[in-house]
């Protein structure tokens, strides 16, 4: 999937980005529509997860309502979220406060 431009959003909010040690996370939320087999396939084909890991995360989404599927820099997480929206998965990014 081609990316038209790198999002410069991270530059706008220096107050939130002052701690480079705080990674950002991509969260996938449960929805009543997407098939479990599809979600697992998306996790494998996009993130390159093993079937075991993809199925575990998919079940976490289904049973717990959400799962963290990636962590790292803000721009990278924004790209992941956009890709998940391409697939029709409901995803958001957030600072990792855990």
């Amino acid at each position: 999937m081609s990316q038209t431009l790198d999002s410069p959003v991270a530059d706008f909010e220096l107050d939130e980005a002052t701690s480079p040690d705080t990674p950002w996370i991509t969260i996938v939320w449960n929805d009543p529509v997407n098939l479990q087999t599809y979600v697992s396939w998306v996790f494998r084909s996009y993130f390159g997860f093993s079937r075991e890991k993809a199925d575990r995360l998919m079940l976490l989404v289904h049973n717990e309502g959400r799962a963290t599927v990636a962590s790292g820099g803000r721009e990278e997480m924004e790209r992941h979220v956009e890709s998940m929206h391409d697939f029709g998965l409901w995803a958001t990014l957030a600072k990792d406060d855990s």
Binding site: M1, T4, L5, S7, P8, V9, F12, E13, E16, N30, D31, P32, V33, N34, L35, T37, Y38, W41, E78, V81, E82, H85, D86, F87, G88, W90, A91, T92, L93, A94
Partner: protein, 168 residues
């Protein structure tokens, strides 16, 4: 007959003529929905060419809101900035996927890898749209609406499940 088949050439669709017609019609409606949203954006040619300059607020239509969700939860400022930079591109890709599905319906050959990706995404977008219309909001909701629409929703789920099975 199963809706998809894997052959040495790749995945081919095996839809009946009336099924193809329904799917093409749904894909056209999806394109219209997405293009109407894109048309709401203030037109700045340069921004549009870059795929930025999208709207600051999420769509009011629940189907569009689900197709184009906020990237941030509980942070409207960040969600709004992100939406302005990305929504038009996302819309454009979704429209492109739906167009690719329509085109492939009139082509008896095997789906290309790109078409296959478009099929998976468009079937998902159609199901999300119908689910919003049927007010399916939790795992326990069975949908409120006429039987025909519920039937189409289930059928699209069957198509998607079959396609995943074939590519796995």
């Amino acid at each position: 007959m199963t809706p998809f088949r894997r052959s040495p050439e790749g995945v081919t669709t095996q839809l009946a003529a009336h099924e193809s017609a329904i799917l093409a019609d749904l894909a056209r409606q999806l394109i219209e929905l997405l293009e109407n949203r894109a048309a709401e954006s203030p037109a700045d040619l340069l921004y549009a060419q870059l795929g930025i300059g999208g709207p600051a607020d999420p769509p009011l239509d629940p189907a569009l809101a689900r197709l184009l969700p906020d990237a941030y939860r509980g942070n409207q400022e960040a969600a709004s900035e992100h939406r302005q930079l990305t929504e038009l591109s996302l819309l454009e890709r979704k429209v492109g996927n739906a167009r690719a599905v329509i085109e492939s319906l009139s082509d008896p050959g095997a789906l290309t890898e790109g078409q296959l990706q478009s099929w998976l995404r468009t079937l998902t977008d159609l199901r999300l749209t119908l689910a919003a219309r049927l007010q399916i909001e939790t795992d326990d909701d069975e949908g409120i609406g006429d039987d025909a629409m519920l039937g189409v929703y289930d059928w699209l789920g069957y198509l998607q499940g079959s396609l995943i099975e074939v590519i796995e």
